[in-house]
C-alpha cells in the first residue's frame, strides 16, 4: 500500500542521525519532526533565524516575534539560539546543516529539482529553497511519486524552471525510496505492498532496479 504523507515523513526520519542539524521545508518535510527515532537528538534550523525549534506553542502562548520559515508560531527548545538571516544562510551555504528535507514539483534523474515556479501562474518566489538546494551536501526530497493528474514527478528532465542543478541525493515518495546515481534513480526500497512494477510505471525518468528490492520497515 502506498504511504500517506505521514508515512513518507516517518521513513525519512529513519535517516536522521544523532547530533544532526536539520532544515525541514514546508509541507511533508515538516512532519518529519514528529517521528524522530528514540535515543537520538537532532536540532531543527529554520532559515528565518532559529536553531533548536520546538513544537507549536500552547494556546494563548503564541509570540508574534517567534515564528518559523512557514510564518507559523513556534517555541524554542532549551539551548536554542536566534540569529539574523545572513548568519542563517551562512550555516546553510557553509554546509553546517547536515540534512535538508524539502518538497518538489519535479525531480530529474540527474538530481535537478524544480519546486518554485509554474510558468503562467502566480510566482510566489523561491524563498530559501535555492540556497538550500545549492548548498546542502545531503538533500532528501519528500513528495508524492505522481502529481494530481497521475503524471510522474520523477522525470528524465524537469519541465518546470529549475530550483537547483544536480543537487538531490535521495527521494522518498509514497511508493519508494530512491537514490540519485549517475545511471538515474536507483530503487532502494519499496513502500509496503508496492511492487517494483508499480514503481516502474510511475517513474518517467531512468530507473535502476538491481536485485531484490526490500520493503520499507515502518513501525
Amino acid at each position: 500500500m502506498a504511504l500517506d504523507k505521514n508515512g513518507i515523513a516517518q521513513r525519512i526520519a529513519q535517516d536522521l542521525r544523532d547530533g544532526w542539524y536539520v532544515n525541514l521545508g514546508i509541507g511533508i518535510p515538516t512532519l518529519v519532526a514528529n517521528y524522530i527515532p528514540e535515543g537520538i537528538e537532532v536540532e531543527f534550523q529554520s532559515e528565518n533565524g532559529i536553531l533548536g525549534m520546538g513544537p507549536f506553542p500552547f494556546e494563548g502562548e503564541e509570540d508574534a516575534d517567534l515564528i518559523n520559515a512557514g510564518k507559523q508560531t513556534i517555541t524554542a527548545m532549551p539551548g536554542a539560539v536566534y540569529f539574523d538571516s545572513a548568519t542563517s544562510f551562512a550555516m546553510i551555504r557553509g554546509q553546517h546543516v547536515q540534512l535538508t528535507v524539502l518538497g518538489a514539483m519535479e525531480v530529474a534523474d540527474n538530481g535537478d529539482i524544480a519546486n518554485w515556479k509554474i510558468p503562467g501562474r502566480m510566482v510566489k518566489g523561491m524563498g530559501g529553497a535555492m540556497d538550500l538546494v545549492a548548498s546542502a551536501d545531503n538533500i532528501i526530497v519528500a513528495m508524492m511519486h505522481t502529481n494530481k493528474k497521475g503524471e510522474s514527478k520523477l522525470l528524465s528532465k524537469c519541465s518546470l524552471p529549475l530550483t537547483g542543478v544536480g543537487c538531490v541525493k535521495k527521494v522518498v515518495t509514497n511508493l519508494a525510496v530512491l537514490e540519485i546515481t549517475s545511471d538515474g534513480f536507483k530503487l532502494i526500497e519499496r513502500a509496503p505492498g508496492v511492487s517494483v512494477e508499480e514503481i516502474q510505471n510511475a517513474t518517467a525518468g531512468r530507473l535502476v532496479v538491481e536485485g531484490e528490492i526490500p520493503e520499507m520497515k515502518l513501525n
Binding site: S46, E47, N48, G49, I50, P55, F56, P57, F58, E59, G60, E61, E62, D63, A64, D65, L66, I67, N68, A69, G70, K71, Q72, T73, I74, A76, Y82, F83, D84, S85, A86, S88, F89, I92, R93, D112, M122, V123, K124, G125, M126, G127, G128, A129, M130, D131, A134, S135, P161, L162, T163, G164, V165, G166
Partner: protein, 232 residues
C-alpha cells in the same frame, strides 16, 4: 550623538518618491509597522522596496501596495497577497525575486563595502541569467552584487540613544543587515533607553549603522499563521 527623533514623522523626513527603501522583517515578524503606516500617510510613490516579503493585503507592505506606492519589489517570497498578485500579473508592479540567502548576504555586502561575492545559490536557474559563473572547489558559483538603499527602515525590540539595537527572537531576521546597508537608517523600537543601559556585550546592531531612532507609538505585531497545540 543623540539620534533620537520624537516621532515617526521626523523619522521618515526626507523619504521621497522614486527612492529605494529596505524594510526589515520576515513575513509580518519584525516589520517596521509604524514607519510603513507613515509612508502610506506621506503618499510617496514609485518606491523600490527591498524586503524579504511583501506583507499581506491589509498589513505590512501590503498597505503600500494597496495605494500603488510601490514600483518595484525586490524579495525572496511574495505569496499571501492578492493585491500583489493582481499588480504583478497586470504588469503594474516590477518584481525581482532573489534567493533568500543571497538577499540577506547582498544587503550585508552593501553595508560592509563588499561590492560582489560568489555564491552557489541559483546556479543553473533563471536567477543566474546574465550573471558571471565561476567554478570554485569543483562547484559552479554565480557572482552576486551588493544592495544598498536610500533609506533602510528597521524594527528593534530595544534601542538606546546612540542607536544601538537589540532584537527579540526571530524578529531579528533581515533587520541587522538592512540597518548596515541604508545610506540613512531609521530604527523604530518598542523600548528606548538611555545610552549605557544596554549591555555592550549583547548588542545586535551597533549604533554606527543607525542614524535615527524613535519609540514606535503602537505595535500591533500581527501573527500571520497562528499555530498552537492544545493545553492538556
Amino acid at each position: 550623538m543623540n539620534k533620537v527623533v520624537p516621532n515617526v514623522e521626523e523619522a521618515c523626513k526626507g523619504i521621497e518618491s522614486g527612492m529605494t527603501l529596505m524594510l526589515g522583517g520576515f513575513g509580518l515578524c519584525g516589520i517596521p509597522e509604524n514607519s510603513i503606516a507613515q509612508l502610506v500617510k506621506m503618499g510617496v510613490n514609485d518606491l523600490t522596496c527591498i524586503s524579504n516579503n511583501a506583507g499581506v493585503d491589509d498589513f505590512g507592505l501590503g498597505l503600500l501596495l494597496q495605494g500603488k506606492q510601490i514600483k518595484k519589489m525586490i524579495s525572496s517570497y511574495v505569496g499571501e497577497n492578492d493585491e500583489f498578485e493582481r499588480q504583478m500579473l497586470s504588469g503594474e508592479l516590477e518584481v525581482d525575486l532573489i534567493p533568500q540567502g543571497s538577499l540577506a548576504e547582498r544587503c550585508r555586502a552593501g553595508g560592509a563595502g563588499i561590492p560582489a561575492f560568489f555564491t552557489p545559490a541559483g546556479f543553473g536557474t533563471e536567477v543566474a541569467e546574465g550573471k558571471e559563473v565561476r567554478e570554485f572547489n569543483g562547484k559552479p558559483h554565480i557572482l552576486e552584487s551588493a544592495l544598498t538603499a536610500d533609506f533602510a527602515i528597521v524594527k528593534a525590540w530595544k534601542g538606546d540613544t546612540e542607536g544601538n539595537l537589540v532584537f527579540k527572537a526571530t524578529a531579528r531576521n533581515f533587520n541587522p543587515m538592512m540597518a548596515m546597508a541604508g545610506k540613512i537608517t531609521i530604527a523604530e523600537v518598542e523600548e528606548l533607553v538611555p545610552a549605557g543601559e544596554l549591555d555592550p556585550n549583547f548588542i545586535h546592531t551597533p549604533g554606527i549603522f543607525v542614524q535615527r531612532i524613535f519609540k514606535g507609538e503602537k505595535f500591533e505585531k500581527r501573527i500571520e499563521q497562528r499555530t498552537v497545540r492544545p493545553k492538556n
